[in-house]
Subunit: 333 residues, 2 copies
């Protein structure tokens, strides 16, 4: 019993210790965020000042005074570099809500993470999510192939797609705030896909639907396979970053970090698959549109046919342009 009493006393002591630590932690965090506010305020001020300075210098330049021209040009360059550095700092520090889409779901709250490693965690979680859902994607496609007229399967698939694209768009917007250099098009791509999934969901089990379903399923299958390949590539990138020790000094934004791995063999390997699937997507969209055009006089064509067609064509074009752009950049570097 005395033994127990002693242990209880120790537990009480350690509990008081934790309570103190907790208070201290709150203080530390409060102090930290106060200095964050100061930093953000200073950055805002600096931004204004540098803009004013730039204006004045430009005025001076246009006003003549050729003797000091070299000095003026130099000053201008300096200011420009200061401005980009301010912008970068703002990206690292200023709290952000993550754009309209995130705001719609989470409200006007900060989604920028300041804890070391938390940003990298966001990214790995994102790729892990894709890794886990890719087999589901393929499974759905297989089921659609086997039971094309089962409305339970098609509807589940449509709802699943809606969820899939919403969560991807949410996560990518949050990643963007946390320093990812993901191109805006991929997010736009997911907004369009959300619209597509909704359109699909509203499509009754009509003749046009059953006519076009095999085509859609085939495209989805191709897409699923390409997604698995790109996911493998992106996860490889993450491992590479861990390996070269960049994941720990994380801050994706830190200036000395270039996320683009360049013209690597694995990137090159992906290229034909990507090009194929983008072209297939466009072709698919054209099939939808011509279908609606030629069958127009035969029977009633739902608006969903045209909407899906337009969405598919836009997605195909956008993807093609963006991918070409990415690979052009890789090639140049």
């Amino acid at each position: 019993l005395i033994d127990l009493k002693k242990e209880l006393e120790e537990l009480e002591k350690s509990q008081n210790g934790v309570k103190e630590k907790g208070l201290k932690f709150k203080e530390q965090i409060a102090v930290g965020f106060k200095s964050l506010d100061e930093i953000c305020n200073t950055l805002d001020k600096q931004e204004k000042e540098s803009s004013k300075l730039l204006q004045r210098i430009t005025l001076l330049q246009s006003g003549g005074g050729d003797k000091s021209n070299d000095a003026v040009v130099e000053m201008k360059q300096k200011i420009q570099s200061i401005k980009t550095s301010i912008k970068q700092s703002k990206k690292t520090f200023t709290p952000e809500t993550g754009g309209v889409f995130v705001r719609l779901f989470l409200g006007q709250v900060n989604v920028k993470h300041y804890r070391e490693g938390e940003r990298f965690r966001l990214k790995t979680e994102y790729e892990k999510f894709k890794f886990k859902t890719n087999p589901q994607f393929i499974l759905f496609v297989a089921l659609l192939f086997m039971f094309p007229s089962n409305s339970f399967i098609t509807t589940s698939w449509q709802i699943w797609l809606l969820y899939y694209y919403v969560t991807l768009a949410l996560r990518e917007n949050i990643l963007l705030v946390n320093g990812s250099s993901i191109r805006p098009w991929w997010i736009m791509h997911h907004y369009l896909s959300i619209a597509g999934a909704l359109t699909n969901l509203l499509w009754p089990l009509s003749t046009s639907f059953t006519d076009l379903l095999p085509m859609m399923t085939m495209f989805s299958g191709a897409q699923g396979i390409v997604q698995i390949l790109t996911n493998r590539y992106q996860q490889g990138q993450l491992y590479r970053m861990v390996a070269i020790g960049k994941a720990n000094i994380m801050d994706v934004t830190s200036e000395n970090m270039i996320s683009d791995p360049g013209w690597t063999p694995s990137a090159l390997f992906l290229l034909p698959f990507l090009l194929f699937v983008h072209c297939f997507q466009m072709y698919n969209g054209f099939v939808f549109l011509t279908y609606s055009y030629f069958k127009y006089h035969t029977y009633y064509i739902e608006w969903q046919v045209i909407a899906c067609g337009l969405i598919l064509v836009s997605l195909g074009i956008g993807n093609l342009v963006t991918t070409s752009n990415i690979y052009l950049n890789k090639w140049k570097s």
Copy 2:
């Protein structure tokens, strides 16, 4: 020009100052979160220890030894109070993902906020969202009344509802992690509502739909009005908290804070409206079910009729039980 040069130099200096501050901020945050990890680890250990101690004491008690019985009972109580205090500390400190639903959308990331005032901000954002969307809710109901057979309006309404309930469920789960004492039923309520909205979305424009739409619209109207009233009440609560200065020491979880305002006139005023709308909801569900029962032989009844009926009845019963419980608690206190 010399003037400009001076200013530029100052700007550069101030920029270096900010950079230093930024590094310091990162350090502070890192140190803070390190001590958070320590706190969480200690809490885990304490939890295990206290459970072990409790076991040993219970063993001792059952083993007899009546002389020291009083002391043992006292010790037991002490441990119990330590355990609840540990639980509370864990709720304040341990990072959490916000449950399956939030995890589905945001991934396995921490959604607990540690910055002072941020939790209160979550809550005000939540109520502000309801405040802003209530008029939209009412507007949709009005449009449905006026154009009951316009499929564009009904479909928009169904998609809007789906979005509405998804974002509410997300926000409430995040609030829960951040110390709100919102009852789990209200979150369950929104999951069911999501299911209901999906069911509605999949409901074709059939006879059963047009038969039951006026009833649904009427109920939605009543719900919209009651929602405005409860939102006013909840916003009043928030103002009250700001007024008595509790919003600033925020931590909704802080032990000395009781969020329930008790048996107030404004809460009492709400009661009849709430009871009415809950009963109306149940009644509505029954109408759906009896409709599906009696029309079963007349024409084809979609599964949506039965699903919506069941969902409405469950919602009505759950709401009624929870509201009664809340008011019973208020009355007792």
